[in-house]
């Protein structure tokens, strides 16, 4: 019987299981996850799960019963120690599994700080449900949270924590928050938003160490200055989990190198999600994305191709972030643009910044503006008159090509 093995416990792994069965595969599926939880959605971890609004079972990509009903052999809390790409086996502490096709959906790991005091209690990273369970348990008794890193994860946590009554400081090494991922305009908007809600943001401020008493953190050190904190969350980026692939002789370059069919350098081994470096035929360059839609799409593509299909992955990347009552939806990369067009008024907390290159839409940042996001999704790569986009009197529907 044909046997598919999937390594991973996130959205890509869960979707791949579902897609294999949806595509009609009746052979054996073995899912091996390092975490003790069935594949779950990570985005709510720093949002609704952290705040307590959504319980753990709601995060599962598919309910537990799904895996029983669909006859999926699940090994949780199980670490894969090696992939043998010649013998086509995967080795774990539980035993060795043969595969006809393998999907690597190992995701990524938070970048760790290695500075004095970084092993004190009370310093957390945020990637897994277990991480957030530990943060929540401590948050209830904490007063002062310091977030190291002004990226989306850090800012989402800041919004939850300050809303829960904690004092919150955010340290950002660069000149502005979100510097790596968005424009100065959006950085300034979110900076102002967070400060208006009581978050203290310190830009151009690196974290040099931690100080504590009784093994627990009490202060975050920034050069000569110190910030009091009884809870620290570090969000300074992630690294793709490629070691298993590397050790198996699979080509990697800032991620596991795959083609537009999600196939690695080994014809029977596929990869999907955060861990991949993949070509984007629409943008004409390779990407490594930290994104759920990417994980889902690559999982579907992998599943189809593992079953002998010919499915190409080609999608415009998109992302979202929830902070306070604001939903930010992003499409494309604003760094690709040569012009920006604002629609709406940031003061009202409802606006969209469209980004154009050579008159064509290449990206959007839409704040509480789902319609603008959907327009950009449909008009990506199309020429649009900037004055129409900017004019709230112009119905966006009229800009869409007539069907």
């Amino acid at each position: 019987m044909t046997q598919m093995v999937i390594i991973g416990g996130g959205q890509a792994a869960g979707q791949a299981v579902a897609s294999l069965r949806q595509e009609g595969f009746e052979g054996k599926i073995v899912l091996i996850g390092e975490e003790s939880t069935l594949p779950y959605q990570r985005p709510p971890l720093s949002k609704a799960y952290l705040s307590g609004a959504v319980p753990a079972e709601k995060l599962l990509v598919r309910p537990e019963k799904f895996y029983e009903d669909r006859d999926v052999e699940v090994h949780l809390g199980t670490t894969v120690t090696a992939i043998d790409s010649d013998q086509k086996t995967v080795t774990t502490a539980d035993g060795t599994f043969d595969f006809d096709k393998l999907l690597i959906a190992t995701g990524s790991t938070p970048r760790k700080l290695t500075i004095p005091g970084s092993d004190l209690k009370g310093i957390h990273y945020l990637r897994t449900m277990a991480d957030v369970d530990a943060i929540r348990a401590q948050m209830a008794d904490s007063k002062r949270l310091c977030i190291v890193g002004g990226g989306y994860i850090g800012l989402e946590v800041a919004s939850v924590a300050v809303s829960a009554g904690l004092s919150v400081d955010v340290l950002e090494m660069e000149a502005r928050i979100l510097q790596r991922v968005t424009t100065p305009f959006m950085s300034a908007f979110y900076h102002q938003l967070h400060e208006s809600r009581g978050v203290k943001i310190h830009t151009e401020t690196g974290c040099s160490g931690f100080r504590g008493t009784d093994q627990s953190v009490t202060h975050v050190q920034c050069g000569d200055a110190e910030i009091e904190a009884d809870l620290v969350i570090v969000g300074i980026g992630i690294m793709p989990n490629i070691q298993l692939a590397l050790d198996a002789g699979i080509a990697c370059d800032n991620g596991i190198t795959v083609d537009d069919h999600c196939q690695t350098s080994h014809p029977d081994i596929y990869a999907a999600g955060d861990c991949t470096n993949h070509p984007n035929p629409i943008l004409g360059r390779r990407l490594r994305l930290e994104s759920v839609p990417n994980a889902m799409d690559q999982a579907r593509t992998s599943a189809a191709n593992m079953l002998g299909g010919d499915k190409t992955y080609a999608a415009v990347p998109w992302f979202w972030s929830d902070q306070y009552e604001l939903k930010l939806q992003m499409l494309g990369f604003s760094a690709d643009a040569d012009a920006a067009v604002l629609r709406g008024d940031p003061e009202t907390l409802q606006f969209a910044q469209f980004y154009l290159f050579d008159g064509k839409i290449v990206a959007v940042d839409a704040v509480n503006s789902p319609k603008e996001f959907m327009v950009a999704k449909q008009l990506f790569g199309h020429s649009v008159a900037a004055h129409d986009l900017a004019n709230p009197e112009v119905d966006l529907k009229s800009l869409l090509p007539s069907v």
């Binding site: 959205q11 579902a18 069965r21 949806q22 959605q41 985005p43 709510p44 990509v61 598919r62 309910p63 019963k65 799904f66 669909r70 759920v292 839609p293 889902m296 799409d297 998109w318 979202w320 929830d322 939903k327 939806q329 503006s369 789902p370 319609k371 959907m374 327009v375 999704k377 449909q378 966006l396 529907k397 869409l400 069907v403």
Partner: protein, 106 residues
Amino acid sequence: MPSVKFIEHNGTEHVVEGNNGDSLMVIATSNLVPGIDADCGGECSCATCHVLVDSEWLSKLGAISETEESMLDLNPDREPSSRLSCQIDMSDDLAGIVINLPEFQY
């Protein structure tokens, strides 16, 4: 458990059971009903779980939120019966609801 009948665009019917409190999107994806992508996992962020609710059932649904309305507004397949299935939670009142699936998600 209350049941839901999903009808694919090609007419294939799927009668599946769901738990009260689960969204129709979750019920569909948990039962491998094709035609619902649900790329964002139910956050009303992507509009890829668009469904057409059978007219007899429309009045039993709660009001549509502003966000959902905006997400649907630009969908080329938009009908008066259009909803995002992640925004409809199953309840006893909806037992037996009939949901038609569009040909494409955008």
